[in-house]
Subunit: 377 residues, 2 copies
């Protein structure tokens, strides 16, 4: 499989990403077997996202475990920039499910940022009212994943600005426009809100330490495209007297249409939304899920399918089939030609719809729980 | 008197300012006799700041009066960026005293911004704790001027960020870094907080309209060096659906040491602070107040003094001698040589100390009134 040019920034993910190259390019470390073993010592088992390399890279995860072993618990931080026309899709859920697993296994606090000004600042046609509405919807998806409300705090940039803006100023004072230019590729024509924004994204990485009155390590599970923000803030936060946040990076769940880029909710044919009906899921998978199979049944029986480029198989591997043996069984049958693309798709459709049925029920219940999650001083 | 090069920006005032040139350079309008007459029609009399050209220029003041005459009352807005090592001096009081007079005469609301992040963002050695302490002190001076607490609201950027930051984002979205560069002379090496800041300064010019749920005209009395911020925000605010704020501009009270630049509290020998004791005032005036008199008594009796360059006379004219006849009497006596510099200084010392005695008493009482002035939603 030839690897073409790719580009990964918080504002663009293009091409088929070569994650080994990205590790070098971003200067991050691979999550290797030794590190997985170290995690497993504390957790008893490993989530499929870890076993199967969905979370593939990190910054300072060993330090997080050092501190944990000394009795100094970390807190988790991640976020979601809600916007008009971009509903939560299954790819978004991956870092959040990782957080839920880590919260349970390590018994730690989880801080979730809703930077409801971000997309407003970056997109001409998005209003603050749009992002406020979208933030509400997105909160339901996060709550639906089962976080412990006693250990989970939502921060909304425009609603928690009394807390966050002064801290963002402390961060901003230590970042020049030159840094923003070279990190994000911004120009003089960028608006001054978008230039300031990264300071707000840095804040939840140390705000809990201020609120609790003790310096706590921070672990940020995120999609690797968000790393740029934290490359900058990891330089700044120690200057403010707080520990450098650690990060674990996930690959992107590919869009239905093929292995390049990342799933984007703005392209409805390429994304499975958390609010999709069973019928919509079925139609999308059947119609759009890129197949690694052959053109005819005869040819497929003879040559077999290629699971590496088959989006349905990859969704099972990356998300929906936690049983390693079952997954291997599917792989073998598909590679040998015993299993047809249609059969593979049926397995995935059933798995996704089982997941979404439960998720949508919990998402409905979440509407009454919102108040338990929004941080209050 | 030869006019040298001068420079007026929010971050620098240098040289002897030629206000006629500044009117052209900034594209503002002179407050002329016709406009003064229009004000007087409503106020009955004219404050000395208006009679004597201390407030010398404006933007859209005629429109403010048009609206007022239609029954659409304006609100007043001004501010003060508190910082370490810069206490309030008598020069700072001028726009505030103007506001107090306008509040009384037009019976209007007054909104006062304390941008406690501004100096923090611009000065390496200033912390947010420094500006918080300084803001408290500065509030006392404003309250001491006698504003009506029912019609006066203090906004503190870091304390009212829930209200202000989302609105600042709306402003920021419409300002590019190119504009900031050309308006303030900023460079890529400026920090991203200082680049964003002007958006926060724009907010109180329309926030009251949002809070009250009706579009109210805004009138901003300010020192002319602050005009740059509003040149930008006057372009942006109408795009957000609010009226362009109007402005009246004051000249600078010159430093004790001579007619160039503006009084700066960082140079204690050049400024009369509101907290100075009678003895400190006496010493400063006697020691530093630049004299327009002659070198010897004999020469002074013969040639007389020059009130135009005499700082003591100018302070009387611009601030401390409201009686026009008395002022003219002093001018004549000083010009003729009948009055010596020492005598002129004695008059000023007595006037300032009378003012400060009353001010300091009210400043002490203000400590218990703070809560009545800070805006609450």
């Amino acid at each position: 499989m030839s690897k073409k040019k790719f580009n990964v920034t918080p504002y663009e993910v293009q091409g088929e990403v070569d994650y080994s190259k990205l590790i070098k390019q971003f200067g991050v470390s691979k999550i290797d077997k030794k590190l997985l073993g170290r995690i497993e010592k504390h957790t008893g088992d490993l989530h499929l996202f870890l076993r199967r390399g969905v979370f593939f890279a990190h910054r300072d995860l060993n330090w997080i475990l050092d501190e944990y072993e000394k009795g100094n618990k970390f807190f988790l931080y991640t976020g979601r920039a809600s916007t008009k026309g971009s509903k939560v899709h299954i790819g978004h859920l991956m870092p959040w499910i990782m957080c839920k697993w880590l919260q349970d296994k390590f018994d730690v606090e989880f801080w979730f940022q809703f930077p409801d000004e971000e997309k407003f600042l970056y997109k001409d046609d998005v209003t603050l009212e749009d992002t406020e509405k979208a933030t509400y919807e997105d909160m339901l998806d996060i709550i639906a994943l089962g976080f412990d409300p006693k250990k989970t705090n939502f921060l909304i940039d425009t609603k928690h600005a009394d807390l966050m803006y002064p801290q963002a100023c402390r961060v901003a004072k230590k970042i020049t426009f030159s840094t923003i230019k070279s990190s994000f590729g911004f120009k003089d024509s960028n608006n001054i809100g978008s230039i300031f924004y990264t300071s707000m994204q840095a804040v939840p990485a140390f705000l809990p330490s201020i609120i609790k009155g003790k310096k706590m390590p921070c672990l940020i599970p995120l999609g690797v495209d968000q790393d740029t923000h934290f490359r900058i803030s990891r330089d700044v936060i120690p200057k403010l007297g707080f520990p450098k946040p650690a990060i674990i990076h996930s690959v992107f769940l590919p869009p239905l249409t093929g292995m390049g880029g990342k799933m984007a909710a703005s392209s409805s044919q390429a994304a499975i939304l958390t609010t999709d009906s069973p019928k919509e899921v079925e139609n999308k998978i059947k119609k759009y899920a890129f197949s690694g199979g052959q053109d005819t049944v005869e040819e497929h029986r003879k040559k077999g399918g290629n699971p590496e480029i088959d989006v349905s198989f990859q969704y099972l591997r990356m998300f929906f089939e936690p049983d390693d043996e079952k997954l291997e069984d599917i792989r073998k049958k598909y590679e040998s030609g015993e299993m047809l693309t249609g059969e593979l798709k049926e397995i995935l459709i059933e798995k996704i719809n089982t997941f979404l049925k439960k998720h949508q029920k919990k998402r409905e219940l979440a509407k009454k729980q919102l108040d338990n999650f929004i941080f209050k001083t």
